[in-house]
Symmetry: C2
Subunit: 171 residues, 2 copies
Amino acid sequence: MDTHTIDTADTPPSQSEEETPWLTAREQRMWRAHLEVAKLLEYQLSRELQPHNLAINDYEILVVLSEAPDRRMRMTDLATATLQSKSRLSHQITRMETAGLVLRQECPGDRRGLYAHLTEHGWETMQRVAPDHVRSVRAHFIDRFTPEQLDAMYEALAPIADHLRGLRGKP
Amino acid sequence: MDTHTIDTADTPPSQSEEETPWLTAREQRMWRAHLEVAKLLEYQLSRELQPHNLAINDYEILVVLSEAPDRRMRMTDLATATLQSKSRLSHQITRMETAGLVLRQECPGDRRGLYAHLTEHGWETMQRVAPDHVRSVRAHFIDRFTPEQLDAMYEALAPIADHLRGLRGKP
């Protein structure tokens, strides 16, 4: 996630009354905090996965496949689940295939094509890495909220996730 | 940001009492909501910048440079400010230079090297795009919080941003 923040320090462009108002200072500080946490957290979690020779996107694929029936998914569904373009996912799966973590296979009798399977090595890798990753997630994020904050954050974010999921794929 | 979620559906690896406990269901749902919002929001904001021929990282660079004294920054400082590696930033600045948005210049008498300058075209581009971007940020994020939620989110996130900023660059 990137810190695509909004400039308020300088003179904003003149706005008619029809236009969207600029962010207030309170909105702005929250927006910047969100962007910073999203970006820095991804950076830190990635760093802590490096000793396992896994990129954070690789770990995500391992988790999604491990939760799928028969530990496999159609490439198109996997792209949707991980919010990636098909071409980017394809490159990633090629790298992960080389590392022995997944296998790409055509499904006989299914014209809709290719599946990505989690290999036994991929499954074991996820089992081995998960405790370290949970430790990172707790240390840098989850354990830094009170139980009340945790629930309040969920209440606030869940409808936004729904909204954004609904927009995805629409023109 | 990626949905590197944690598997709890399947049997977790056995853990001694010394080890970090697995995420609870309440922690898990919040963690997933955060990841999803971070990722989907970046996707949606990027999509809405496309008509302006700007990637979200480009917009960020425009904002950061526009807020800098003389609208210029040392490349190394710009990399730090945007949390990018120097090599990735260098590629991005090359693309933005081609688009006439920034200029890379050596600073006479400063051995520490290259500066990125915002061009007049870059400045005008940011001014033109910013109202649309604010509209997107409001529609998909900021206006979806109550004022109380906005402040509560800031209170919760700001210390985490501080923590993560402090870790950055450390071995």
